[in-house]
Protein backbone atom coordinates (compact mmCIF):
# COMPACT_ATOMS: atom_id res chain seq x y z
CA UNK A 1 0.00 0.00 0.00
CA UNK A 2 2.98 2.36 0.32
CA UNK A 3 2.74 3.43 -3.32
CA UNK A 4 -0.50 2.65 -5.10
CA UNK A 5 -2.99 3.84 -7.66
CA UNK A 6 -6.66 3.17 -8.30
CA UNK A 7 -9.01 4.02 -11.16
CA UNK A 8 -12.57 3.38 -10.10
CA UNK A 9 -16.21 4.32 -10.55
CA UNK A 10 -17.03 4.28 -6.84
CA UNK A 11 -16.43 7.20 -4.52
CA UNK A 12 -13.47 7.29 -2.13
CA UNK A 13 -13.41 8.17 1.57
CA UNK A 14 -10.79 10.79 2.35
CA UNK A 15 -10.54 9.85 6.02
CA UNK A 16 -9.97 6.21 5.11
CA UNK A 17 -7.42 7.04 2.41
CA UNK A 18 -5.55 9.16 4.94
CA UNK A 19 -5.68 6.40 7.53
CA UNK A 20 -4.31 3.81 5.11
CA UNK A 21 -1.57 6.16 3.95
CA UNK A 22 -0.15 6.57 7.46
CA UNK A 23 -1.09 3.15 8.86
CA UNK A 24 1.74 1.70 10.95
CA UNK A 25 4.08 4.54 10.02
CA UNK A 26 6.08 6.43 12.64
CA UNK A 27 8.46 8.35 10.36
CA UNK A 28 6.11 10.38 8.19
CA UNK A 29 6.03 13.78 9.85
CA UNK A 30 4.30 15.39 6.89
CA UNK A 31 1.19 14.35 5.01
CA UNK A 32 -0.16 16.39 2.10
CA UNK A 33 -3.23 15.56 0.15
CA UNK A 34 -5.23 17.03 -2.62
CA UNK A 35 -8.86 16.36 -3.51
CA UNK A 36 -10.34 17.56 -6.79
CA UNK A 37 -14.11 17.97 -6.93
CA UNK A 38 -16.72 18.70 -9.59
CA UNK A 39 -17.45 22.40 -9.30
CA UNK A 40 -20.65 24.06 -10.43
CA UNK A 41 -18.94 26.51 -12.78
CA UNK A 42 -16.24 25.91 -15.38
CA UNK A 43 -15.21 28.49 -17.99
CA UNK A 44 -18.32 30.50 -17.08
CA UNK A 45 -20.59 27.56 -17.90
CA UNK A 46 -22.91 26.18 -15.27
CA UNK A 47 -22.13 22.51 -14.82
CA UNK A 48 -24.80 20.00 -13.80
CA UNK A 49 -22.83 16.78 -14.16
CA UNK A 50 -20.01 15.27 -16.13
CA UNK A 51 -18.93 11.97 -17.55
CA UNK A 52 -15.32 10.99 -17.13
CA UNK A 53 -13.85 8.70 -19.75
CA UNK A 54 -10.42 7.10 -19.68
CA UNK A 55 -8.25 4.72 -21.67
CA UNK A 56 -8.12 1.52 -19.60
CA UNK A 57 -4.67 0.00 -19.47
CA UNK A 58 -2.83 3.16 -20.46
CA UNK A 59 -4.33 5.15 -17.57
CA UNK A 60 -2.95 2.81 -14.93
CA UNK A 61 0.42 2.64 -16.66
CA UNK A 62 0.76 6.43 -16.84
CA UNK A 63 -0.36 6.94 -13.23
CA UNK A 64 2.23 4.40 -12.12
CA UNK A 65 4.92 6.18 -14.16
CA UNK A 66 4.00 9.53 -12.59
CA UNK A 67 4.21 7.97 -9.13
CA UNK A 68 7.61 6.40 -9.93
CA UNK A 69 8.89 9.75 -11.19
CA UNK A 70 7.78 11.47 -7.95
CA UNK A 71 9.53 8.75 -5.92
CA UNK A 72 12.75 9.37 -7.80
CA UNK A 73 12.60 13.15 -7.29
CA UNK A 74 11.65 13.41 -3.62
CA UNK A 75 12.08 11.43 -0.43
CA UNK A 76 8.65 9.94 -0.05
CA UNK A 77 7.40 7.31 2.37
CA UNK A 78 4.06 6.64 0.73
CA UNK A 79 1.89 8.04 -2.01
CA UNK A 80 -1.47 7.21 -3.54
CA UNK A 81 -3.51 8.37 -6.49
CA UNK A 82 -7.23 7.58 -6.81
CA UNK A 83 -9.11 8.80 -9.87
CA UNK A 84 -12.78 8.25 -10.55
CA UNK A 85 -14.40 7.60 -13.91
CA UNK A 86 -18.01 7.45 -15.06
CA UNK A 87 -20.89 9.78 -14.21
CA UNK A 88 -20.16 12.49 -11.63
CA UNK A 89 -22.28 15.31 -10.26
CA UNK A 90 -21.56 18.73 -8.77
CA UNK A 91 -19.61 18.43 -5.49
CA UNK A 92 -18.60 14.84 -6.23
CA UNK A 93 -15.00 13.92 -5.60
CA UNK A 94 -12.94 13.26 -8.74
CA UNK A 95 -9.36 12.70 -7.68
CA UNK A 96 -7.36 12.06 -4.52
CA UNK A 97 -3.59 12.48 -4.27
CA UNK A 98 -1.91 11.75 -0.95
CA UNK A 99 1.79 11.91 -0.15
CA UNK A 100 3.73 11.31 3.07
CA UNK A 101 7.31 12.27 3.76
CA UNK A 102 9.64 13.06 6.62
CA UNK A 103 9.74 16.67 5.44
CA UNK A 104 6.84 18.84 4.44
CA UNK A 105 8.53 20.53 1.46
CA UNK A 106 8.97 17.14 -0.19
CA UNK A 107 5.36 16.19 0.47
CA UNK A 108 4.02 19.51 -0.86
CA UNK A 109 6.17 19.48 -3.98
CA UNK A 110 5.45 15.84 -4.78
CA UNK A 111 1.69 16.36 -4.39
CA UNK A 112 1.72 19.36 -6.72
CA UNK A 113 3.90 17.50 -9.19
CA UNK A 114 1.56 14.49 -9.17
CA UNK A 115 -1.45 16.71 -9.85
CA UNK A 116 0.29 18.72 -12.60
CA UNK A 117 1.43 15.59 -14.40
CA UNK A 118 -1.83 13.73 -13.90
CA UNK A 119 -3.65 16.70 -15.46
CA UNK A 120 -1.45 16.77 -18.55
CA UNK A 121 -0.41 13.12 -19.00
CA UNK A 122 -3.05 10.71 -17.70
CA UNK A 123 -5.59 9.76 -20.39
CA UNK A 124 -8.81 11.04 -18.83
CA UNK A 125 -11.38 13.20 -20.61
CA UNK A 126 -14.24 15.17 -19.11
CA UNK A 127 -17.50 15.84 -20.88
CA UNK A 128 -19.64 18.32 -19.02
CA UNK A 129 -23.41 18.48 -19.11
CA UNK A 130 -24.06 22.22 -18.92
CA UNK A 131 -26.93 24.62 -19.47
CA UNK A 132 -25.55 24.91 -23.03
CA UNK A 133 -25.58 21.15 -23.62
CA UNK A 134 -22.93 18.44 -23.41
CA UNK A 135 -19.45 19.86 -24.02
CA UNK A 136 -16.03 18.25 -23.97
CA UNK A 137 -13.67 20.10 -21.67
CA UNK A 138 -10.83 21.80 -23.52
CA UNK A 139 -7.19 21.41 -22.65
CA UNK A 140 -6.21 24.01 -20.04
CA UNK A 141 -3.12 26.02 -21.01
CA UNK A 142 -2.55 26.82 -17.32
CA UNK A 143 -2.20 23.10 -16.63
CA UNK A 144 0.30 22.73 -19.46
CA UNK A 145 2.30 25.63 -18.06
CA UNK A 146 2.16 24.19 -14.55
CA UNK A 147 3.55 20.86 -15.73
CA UNK A 148 6.39 22.47 -17.70
CA UNK A 149 7.92 24.02 -14.59
CA UNK A 150 8.93 20.54 -13.39
CA UNK A 151 11.17 19.92 -16.40
CA UNK A 152 14.60 19.12 -15.16
Amino acid sequence: MAFSIAVQEQDFDVGREYGELIFGDTAAGAVVFFVGRVRDTNYARDVKSMSLEHYPGMTEKILQQILDEAKSRWKLIAARIVHRVGELHVSDQIVFVGVTSVHREHAFQAAEFLMDFLKTQAPFWKKELTGQGALWVEENSKDVGASLRWNK
Binding site: E53, Y55, I62, V95, W125, K126, E139, D143
Partner: protein, 82 residues
Protein backbone atom coordinates in the same frame (compact mmCIF):
# COMPACT_ATOMS: atom_id res chain seq x y z
CA UNK B 1 -3.60 -7.07 -37.15
CA UNK B 2 -3.21 -3.65 -35.59
CA UNK B 3 -5.83 -2.64 -33.08
CA UNK B 4 -6.80 1.04 -33.49
CA UNK B 5 -8.58 2.87 -30.66
CA UNK B 6 -10.27 6.29 -30.82
CA UNK B 7 -11.15 8.04 -27.58
CA UNK B 8 -13.31 10.86 -26.21
CA UNK B 9 -14.31 13.61 -28.65
CA UNK B 10 -12.44 11.96 -31.51
CA UNK B 11 -14.47 8.77 -31.03
CA UNK B 12 -17.67 10.80 -31.32
CA UNK B 13 -16.41 12.72 -34.37
CA UNK B 14 -15.46 9.55 -36.24
CA UNK B 15 -18.36 7.49 -35.01
CA UNK B 16 -15.93 4.66 -34.26
CA UNK B 17 -14.37 3.42 -31.03
CA UNK B 18 -12.13 0.58 -32.19
CA UNK B 19 -11.17 -1.20 -35.35
CA UNK B 20 -8.71 -3.86 -36.43
CA UNK B 21 -6.54 -3.10 -39.40
CA UNK B 22 -4.59 -5.80 -41.30
CA UNK B 23 -0.89 -5.11 -41.13
CA UNK B 24 -0.41 -5.46 -44.90
CA UNK B 25 1.88 -2.64 -46.07
CA UNK B 26 1.53 -0.67 -42.78
CA UNK B 27 4.99 -0.29 -41.32
CA UNK B 28 4.64 2.94 -39.37
CA UNK B 29 2.14 5.24 -37.64
CA UNK B 30 2.17 7.49 -40.70
CA UNK B 31 1.29 4.50 -42.91
CA UNK B 32 -1.59 3.69 -40.58
CA UNK B 33 -3.00 7.23 -40.79
CA UNK B 34 -2.76 7.17 -44.57
CA UNK B 35 -4.58 3.84 -44.62
CA UNK B 36 -7.33 5.12 -42.31
CA UNK B 37 -7.90 8.23 -44.46
CA UNK B 38 -8.02 6.20 -47.66
CA UNK B 39 -10.63 3.89 -46.17
CA UNK B 40 -12.72 6.72 -44.68
CA UNK B 41 -12.38 10.01 -46.52
CA UNK B 42 -14.85 11.72 -44.13
CA UNK B 43 -12.36 11.23 -41.28
CA UNK B 44 -9.76 13.58 -42.70
CA UNK B 45 -10.92 16.64 -40.74
CA UNK B 46 -10.95 15.05 -37.31
CA UNK B 47 -7.88 12.87 -37.88
CA UNK B 48 -5.81 15.82 -39.15
CA UNK B 49 -6.30 17.85 -35.97
CA UNK B 50 -2.71 18.84 -35.04
CA UNK B 51 -3.58 18.63 -31.34
CA UNK B 52 -4.33 14.90 -31.52
CA UNK B 53 -2.10 12.67 -29.40
CA UNK B 54 -1.00 9.12 -30.22
CA UNK B 55 -0.06 6.14 -28.11
CA UNK B 56 1.35 2.80 -29.15
CA UNK B 57 0.86 -0.04 -26.69
CA UNK B 58 -0.20 2.42 -23.96
CA UNK B 59 2.86 4.68 -24.29
CA UNK B 60 2.85 8.14 -25.83
CA UNK B 61 4.65 8.44 -29.16
CA UNK B 62 5.60 11.64 -30.93
CA UNK B 63 6.21 11.89 -34.64
CA UNK B 64 6.36 8.72 -36.67
CA UNK B 65 6.82 5.30 -35.07
CA UNK B 66 7.45 1.79 -36.35
CA UNK B 67 4.47 -0.55 -35.90
CA UNK B 68 4.37 -4.34 -35.56
CA UNK B 69 1.68 -6.98 -35.81
CA UNK B 70 -0.37 -7.00 -32.61
CA UNK B 71 0.29 -3.39 -31.66
CA UNK B 72 -2.48 -1.29 -30.16
CA UNK B 73 -2.52 2.27 -31.48
CA UNK B 74 -4.67 4.96 -29.87
CA UNK B 75 -5.58 8.44 -31.10
CA UNK B 76 -7.11 10.96 -28.73
CA UNK B 77 -7.47 14.68 -27.97
CA UNK B 78 -5.45 16.44 -25.21
CA UNK B 79 -6.29 14.95 -21.81
CA UNK B 80 -8.50 16.80 -19.32
CA UNK B 81 -8.61 14.72 -16.13
CA UNK B 82 -7.80 15.59 -12.53
Amino acid sequence: MIRVVFLAQLREQLGAAELDVPVGQIKTLADLKTYLLLQNSSWSGALSNPKLLSAVNHAYVKGDHVLADGDEVAFFPPVTGG
